[in-house]
Amino acid sequence: MLEISLRHRLSGFTLDLALSAPSGVTALFGPSGAGKTTVVNAVAGLLRPEQGRIAVGGEVLLDTGANICLPPHKRRIGYVFQDARLFPHLSVRANLLYGRRFAPVSRDGAEFDRVVAMLGLEALLERRPAALSGGEKSRVALGRALLCAPRMLLMDEPLAALDAARKEEILPYFERLRDEVQLPILYVSHAPAEVARLATSVALIEAGHLRGFGPAREVLSDPGLAPSLGMREAGAVISGQVAGQEADGLARIETAGGPVLLPYPTGQPGQALRLRIHAGDVTLARGRPEGLSALNILPARITQIRPAEAPSVYVQLALGPERLLARLTTRSVAALGLTEGMECHAIIKAMSVASEDVLGR
């Protein structure tokens, strides 16, 4: 459990927020310059806020009221920087081991071997950082932070400097980290796709203030917050289970809202997964449409309608316990007479769900 409350003047606005991050990955999400990095730097002790209190697992790291401010090296917080910041004069092995002498526990080799194996660093150990690719550097930086036996991890846009292919290479490691290592993680990002994939909680930050905070699936499906996620990027995440492959090659996913067909294999039957459905890919119909090419027609109930930047509207739908988000025009909403509480059908083209929107469990 990480408790943060901060007040700090930045150029142009004042950062003023308070949040309690549960275990798991808490994404600090928001546009560049919103103050996300300031928050993580304050947690790490690299920045001393004008006012604030920060505690991890009950231990107070900063309390300006009580004049407590632990220096960074006494906080035991692993920090993965966007630019990796590996020590250029040390080998990968020495970089990984840099924090070990200060770690209070696990000075044996087992932990080292485990982290090296988890991050796939075996072949890189004797290399220098200059000889690593961007993705390899990120993995080493992550391993280095893990091996100092931290109370929690801070990750400041660790993927922002990487191209799409490198991101795909790293993300599985981050997912493993989230699932295998029981550490609270504060993850700064301005990419909704990353947030949808990794986060258990999302804190939406704009101009130094908390616009929304809660479990990832609630924040991502909140039509009031959707505009902040970006026109192209807004979309909810629903859970499902692979049911199997149909004779024509379509994969069938069972969700609480009904079966969803996807045009590519998604895994073994029984495997749990999550689907990110872009709000712009969801069509609504009042009755069950006939003669339509779209394969996925799910009965739904309208739970919220929120106007966004004209002429668009975000509509939140309930599919059983799941929430879906649709972006429509005000004209469509008016023409169909859509109102909150109304039953309707959500239509999702199978082809519109890209393979990168199929997330792990």
Binding site: A44, G45, L46, P71, P72, H73, K74, R75, R76, I77, G78, Y79, F81, D83, R85, F87, P88, H89, S91, Y98, G99, R101, F102, A103, R127, R128, P129, A130, A131, R144, A145, C148
Partner: protein, 231 residues
């Protein structure tokens, strides 16, 4: 070798000793002052900066004279040192002090440039991994500035080898005691028929200087390659 007199050899040996001590003793304070000037914002920073650079801009005679006032056995600092049995005026130790003071600004400048080239973000990263400031300095900053420290030390050594004005003012020109290589050359030139001796000393002087330069460049390349991970 018999083409140099014993006195000439003495001057060469004394110069090496004086420059060696001057460099070695000014290196730790040189690194400290360079670090403070590069990284810390404190009141009086520009005054410290000015004081460090003073020997560079003052006439060496003036620096020597100030040293003489301060470090003479009846001077404020010299008196205190005399009580613990350390006499600087008119001894080779004084020559080392004069050389060190004159070389100090050059050393600080080289090291400061190197420190300013180290990304403070690396030092921050080391701190988040649990390293105290002193440990960060020893394991991150110092290895990364090693080429700059080496360059500073070599420049200081060369400057100390060639120091003339402050030395002759502070510790005079006593053969075997304070007569370093430049002072010996100067003395030979004052003696009728001493040009040949002076020329030999000049050859030694040039050889030493060039040798030091080549060695330092070779070392600097090696260290830089090691830091960049190519070595």
């Amino acid at each position: 070798m018999n083409w140099l007199s014993g006195q000439d050899w003495q001057a060469v040996a004394l110069s090496l000793k004086v420059a060696g001590w001057a460099t070695a003793l000014s290196l730790p304070p040189g690194i400290f002052v360079a670090y403070a000037l590069a990284r810390w914002r404190f009141a009086g920073r520009s005054i410290v900066n000015g004081l460090v650079h003073l020997p560079l801009i003052l006439p060496p005679v003036v620096t020597g004279y100030l040293l003489l006032i301060g470090f003479a056995p009846n001077g404020p600092i010299g008196g205190a040192l005399a009580k613990i049995g350390l006499t600087l005026a008119f001894t080779w130790k004084g020559a080392a002090l004069a050389a060190g003071v004159m070389a100090f600004p050059l050393m600080v400048r080289a090291i400061r440039l190197a420190i300013e080239a180290v990304d403070p973000k690396l030092e921050e990263a080391a701190a988040t991994l649990g390293a105290s400031r002193a440990w960060v300095f020893a394991t991150v900053t110092l290895p990364l500035i090693a080429p700059g420290v080496l360059a500073g030390a070599i420049t200081a050594y060369a400057k100390a080898m060639g120091e003339f004005g402050a030395t002759i003012t502070f510790v005079s020109n006593i053969p075997g005691q304070t007569q370093t290589l430049p002072l010996a050359i100067y003395s030979q030139l004052q003696v009728p028929g001493g040009e040949a001796d002076a020329a030999r000393l000049v050859v030694i002087s040039v050889t030493l200087a060039l040798g030091a330069l080549l060695v330092s460049e070779w070392l600097a390349r090696r260290i830089a390659a090691r830091i960049a991970g190519r070595g």
